[in-house]
Amino acid sequence: MAGSGLMNPDLSVVLDVAVAYFGPRGQPIGTGAHDPSRNGFNFQQLEVAIGSSVDPYFRLDAFLVFSEHGVEVEEAFGTTLALPARLQLRAGRFLHRFGRVNATHPHGWSFVDQNLLVGRLFGPEGGGGLGVELSWLSPLPWWLELSATSMTASGAASARSFFGGRDLGVRDPRDLLHVVTVKQFFALDDDWSLLTGVSAALGPNATGRANRTDIVGLDGYLRYRPTRGAAQNAWTLQVEIAHRRRQIPRDVLADWNGYAQLVWQWGRPWAAAARWEYGSSVRGLDGQPVEDPLDPDWTADRHRGAVALTHWPTEFSRIRLQATSDFPAWLDAPRLALFCALELVTGAHGAHAF
């Protein structure tokens, strides 16, 4: 049909593969479903992204992920384009906007592997589910966006702090996962940007119909990118912290999680990055460490540090070297991991949010 090509949606394919070495002490203890997980070659994922306007009122985006474990619909959602009052609705399966990194895909990350914070709190695929999100851009002089999401609370890989793999069903709205975010952006000047956020994820957990999990978090993103001259350098500092409380029979469990990462990009094709992550032990109401039914091994504080060097031959290909040292206090010695990862992007891939 003449002209039919013009109506095709944007289609792109992103391949992530890596070579990994996990040191003499053996098994990795990363959290991500698509992290390199064994010595030697690792097929992380092949992401197929499809997106286009449906009509003047809706846009459709879908992300299919192929891995060694099969195919999954990572996200598939519609977004409204014409709601009044600066409102926007998303409906379908999607990653919720808790914090900064949760809603992003691996090829938007500055490191090869998933953040501990996301993996521990939400799951190896990142926090998400099937539901609806309403967001609102305020008319204030600076950018302030509120969003409220209600979605399924089940999914071992995406809602592990909530119903997880044990779906107890929905009898009333309290059986859904509710995520609320407030994000603000400040253009400090032409070169400096600051994005801050407050998030809360509230929902039921699988230890009892009325037992709740509350996760609250703060995130910050500070970026310096000169807008004059040819240096094409950029510095970004990204920080997230989250506090989780879970009701279980006869106790309330609480833990802290966080990370800070610094990325220095020089020229267009090079970047160096460093990240430090922390996950506390789980404590009960009496303040003493207790065993976490979700992570029985996680009996003490855990620190993880990583450095990465990235080269982009073009904006569509990326080679990344990463060294990670993991310090779970319950193990006798740190775990070392080395990655060399390749990412290739082809097709029309949509622009990323700031």
Binding site: S53, P56, R59, T79, L81, A82, L83, P84, A85, R86, L87, Q88, W136, L137, S138, P139, L140, W142, W143, E145, L168, K183, F185, A187, D190, S193, L195, L202, A206, T207, G208, R209, A210, N211, R212, D214, R223, T227, R228, G229, A230, Q232, Q247, I248, P249, R250, D251, V252, G267, R268, P269, T314, E315, F316, T346, G350, A351, H352, A353, F354
Partner: protein, 326 residues
């Protein structure tokens, strides 16, 4: 078997409920903000200036000259920023959320950042297909439209053609008329004002063009080198002949082998001029220019709209820079 809620831990809910009660206390403020974001409260009213958002400084400068005090113009990419590589800062989405008219260069120049801003702006007035959405490339004849198969192995090519048409005054006058026509559609009562204002601007540009062509006449037929394929329209207008580019393929940084080949090609062709924008690094260009006996000219990259510079004044600076070529 699921466990039941233990009443001893009821206190855990309290902070959440307190937060909800606090929000309820500020419901009047929330209502005020919601009202402020309703369409009726937006600034695109007949008695107020149209809010025009241009992606680049050159389009912004034209809109300001055409609309004068009937428009309020803001520009997303600074003239010192490479429009291919702009951070999609949320503050830019905020500008778009208030816009009555979006002007953009098109031909995928802004594809890396504008679509996400447009989605985040939540502004139906400027979505594709709406009267407030104006792709200015529709007004010009486009150069370097790829024929046959387009592949990224060719570099970061623009599949719909070269988007750097704002360096050719002959094409810019068509853009001026296109913008005026669209402003008139959005504000029919002021359509004649926009039309006459545009024609006055076209007259100024045409008079300036004759002066610029006289001053640069000796460059006609000159062999030259450019960093990026961003001066094709300038070459088309002035009769420059580009014998090579510092980038081996669009968007691909130079490598030593290509630099050596380019120096040889420039020498063989007797190229006198290497032009580039200030956002590209000059170290490789300087080396090539010195080895091949060319003059390196760093072109100004857009009107200084914050200081009210017009597009013709900016082009005058650009012509002055080219006049320095011996």
């Amino acid at each position: 078997m699921p466990f039941d809620w233990d009443e001893r831990f009821e206190s855990m809910r309290a902070p959440i409920h307190r937060t909800i009660r606090s929000v309820a206390r500020f419901r009047h403020l929330v209502l005020l903000l919601l009202c402020g974001s309703l369409p009726g409260a937006s600034p695109a009213r007949a008695h107020e200036p149209l809010r025009v958002v241009a992606t680049t400084a050159d389009l912004g400068a034209l809109a300001r000259e055409i609309g004068a005090d009937r428009v309020r113009v803001s520009v997303l990419a600074l003239p010192t920023q490479d429009p291919h590589w702009v951070d999609a800062r949320p503050s830019l989405a905020l500008e778009l959320s208030r816009a009555d008219l979006l002007l953009y260069v098109g031909l995928d120049l802004e594809v890396g950042w504008l679509p996400t801003l447009l989605l985040g702006a939540r502004n139906p007035r400027i979505q594709p297909g709406a009267p407030g959405h104006l792709d200015c490339s529709q007004f010009v004849d486009v150069l370097e439209v790829p024929t046959g198969r387009v592949d990224r192995a060719q570099g970061d090519v623009h599949p719909h053609g070269n988007p750097h048409y704002m360096l050719d005054p002959r094409r810019v006058v068509r853009v001026v008329r296109g913008i005026a026509d669209r402003l008139g559609r959005l504000q029919p009562a002021a359509a004649s004002h926009y039309r006459s204002s545009a024609e006055a601007l076209v007259g100024r540009i045409e008079r300036a063009r004759l002066d610029w062509e006289r001053r640069l006449a000796r460059l006609r037929g000159t062999n030259a080198v450019s960093y990026h394929r961003s001066v094709s329209y300038l070459a088309d207008w002035l009769g420059l002949r580009f014998v090579g580019h510092v980038e081996p393929r669009p968007g691909i940084p130079p490598n030593p082998r290509h630099v050596a080949q380019l120096i040889a090609a420039a020498r063989a062709a007797g190229a006198r001029l290497l032009v580039q924008e200030s956002w590209h690094p000059t170290n490789t260009s300087r080396l090539i220019a010195e080895r091949a006996g060319m003059r390196l000219v760093v072109l100004p990259t857009g009107p200084d709209v914050r200081r009210g510079e017009s597009w013709t004044r900016y082009m005058d600076r650009l012509v002055t820079a080219l006049e320095a070529v011996p």
